[in-house]
């Protein structure tokens, strides 16, 4: 089996070289699935330690309907179940309208808003949401990292890139975009986010929310990759 070559030696710091990647066929897929499984196991162990209450134990989590993303739409309780931070946060659409050049916004807040909009928990910003997601995805694709805050011109405010939850949210949003419109550029972003999250082995980079979302992302991403792989081999 090929060792999956796209592991970040130092997540949030290193940048992987994706140009001119060789065709490796089956061994690359085997390496990818093994790496993702290994990462899910690491996240599972982390979660098992963190989740004291029985109703949120990992087995229940795996079976729970709220991880079946298609069923989450219009289910207003799902966000509460996810225990996302700042879910009481008022969606920031109006805040954006009031922003003036030089303003700063929080990446996590935007992604949480987009996440909630996806499930109909808040009003969808339409084209505005698409543009925001596009800008954040661009940051990830070009720099392979996300800053916790950006100026209105989308310039990183500080040189700190370890907000794991931002990556997990972006990965999930990209995956759902792919499922909606079938555009592989969204899955591309998701896979790059997946490489980064899978490379985390330091528990200090995780909290409950980011670990749940990362775990969910990796499982869902693997499911889509497996389906595509089966489609290619037919």
């Amino acid at each position: 089996m090929t060792l999956y070559p796209y592991r970040h030696p130092a997540p949030f710091k290193s940048k992987l070289e994706y140009s001119y990647a060789p065709y490796q066929g089956g061994p690359l897929f085997d390496g990818y699935f093994a790496f993702r499984e290994e990462s899910c196991l690491f996240l599972s162990r982390f979660l098992q330690e963190k989740l004291a209450q029985d109703f949120l134990c990992l087995d229940a989590l795996a079976q729970a309907e709220f991880l079946m993303f298609d069923k989450m739409i219009n289910n207003s309780s799902c966000a509460k179940e996810f225990k996302l931070p700042n879910l009481s946060y008022t969606p920031s659409k109006k805040c954006f309208e009031n922003l003036v050049p030089g303003s700063i916004f929080n990446t996590r807040d935007i992604l949480v808003s987009l996440f909630c909009a996806h499930f109909g928990l808040i009003e969808h910003g339409g084209r505005f949401d698409v543009l925001l997601l596009k800008q954040i995805a661009k940051k990830l694709e070009v720099f392979q990292r996300l800053a916790p805050e950006y100026s209105l011109e989308f310039r990183a405010v500080q040189e700190k890139y370890d907000a794991t939850i931002c990556y997990a949210l972006l990965g999930l949003l990209s995956l759902w975009q792919f499922r909606e419109d079938g555009e592989f550029r969204h899955l591309n972003t998701c896979l790059k986010v997946g490489d980064l999250l899978s490379s985390i082995r330091d528990e200090k980079c995780l909290d409950l929310s980011s670990a749940i979302l990362s775990w969910a992302l990796l499982r869902e991403e693997m499911a889509d990759t497996q389906l595509l792989r089966e489609g290619c081999s037919r």
Partner: protein
């Protein structure tokens, strides 16, 4: 042979630039000048693959004809700059002194505004349909969708993959065996580009100008370097049995 007096070739040493030259010559055209950007790394690339690889695809790219061959055979003017970087000061100075209005771009980075200030027109061929697929490694996204691939020639502008579209053509993706999978990056991509460049120059020779249609970036999407998993899936769709 007809020398295109207002057309130069910025030769970024590699298969793409050689294919551009090959297609120009096949169409009986010679560039007024060829500016060679930096060292030629092609011999190392050729050695990286067995000769059977290059022989297999010789109908696309004749690996035995290098820049020295074309220069010897056709005697066009060449200039050498030391750096491969398209934005080098040396190249900029040369372009300022040259009389040619148009230069075919074959690589070496993203052209910065300073180079556009030379007043020259830069012609580039992108390996996908524009404006719908802007960005990098776009033909793999086409392959993923099981479609034909395409190339589009356009007049470069400081904004990435914008500027008037000059020609566009679609291509069937050849099926290959897994051991030759680098064919798509190394040969198929530049071969498509060279075909469409030739089409563009045919129009130019007939009309004496670059007649293009504007493109609007909002009509398309930016694509970033394809993830290796997606690239593998894309190639898998076109492997021969």
């Amino acid at each position: 042979m007809k020398t295109l007096s207002s057309m130069g070739l910025l030769f970024f040493p590699g298969i793409r630039a050689l294919l551009y030259l090959q297609f120009l010559i096949e169409n009986q055209w010679l560039p007024s000048v060829v500016v060679i950007q930096g060292e030629n790394h092609l011999p190392q690339l050729l050695k990286k693959y067995p000769s059977s690889f290059w022989e297999q695809f010789r109908s696309y790219f004749d690996y035995q004809k290098d820049m020295d061959f074309y220069r010897r055979e056709y005697g066009f003017e060449t200039l050498q700059v030391s750096e491969r970087d398209i934005n080098s000061q040396e190249l900029n100075s040369i372009l300022c002194r040259r009389s040619e209005d148009h230069f075919i771009f074959s690589g070496g980075g993203i052209i910065r505004r300073e180079l556009f200030r030379t007043g020259k027109t830069f012609i580039h061929t992108h390996p996908a349909s524009l404006p719908s697929r802007r960005g990098s490694t776009c033909f793999y996204y086409d392959m993923l969708e099981g479609k034909s691939c395409a190339a589009t020639t356009f007049v470069m502008r400081p904004e990435l993959d914008e500027g008037n579209i000059l020609a566009h053509k679609e291509f069937q993706v050849p099926r290959i065996s897994p051991e030759w999978s680098d064919f798509y990056d190394l040969i198929f991509d530049p071969w498509m580009r060279a075909q469409v460049l030739a089409l563009t120059l045919r129009n130019y020779v007939q009309t004496g100008s670059f007649l293009g249609r504007p493109q609007y970036p909002e009509d398309g999407h930016m694509h970033y370097i394809i993830h290796p998993i997606l690239k593998n899936l894309a190639i898998s769709k076109f492997l021969s049995d």
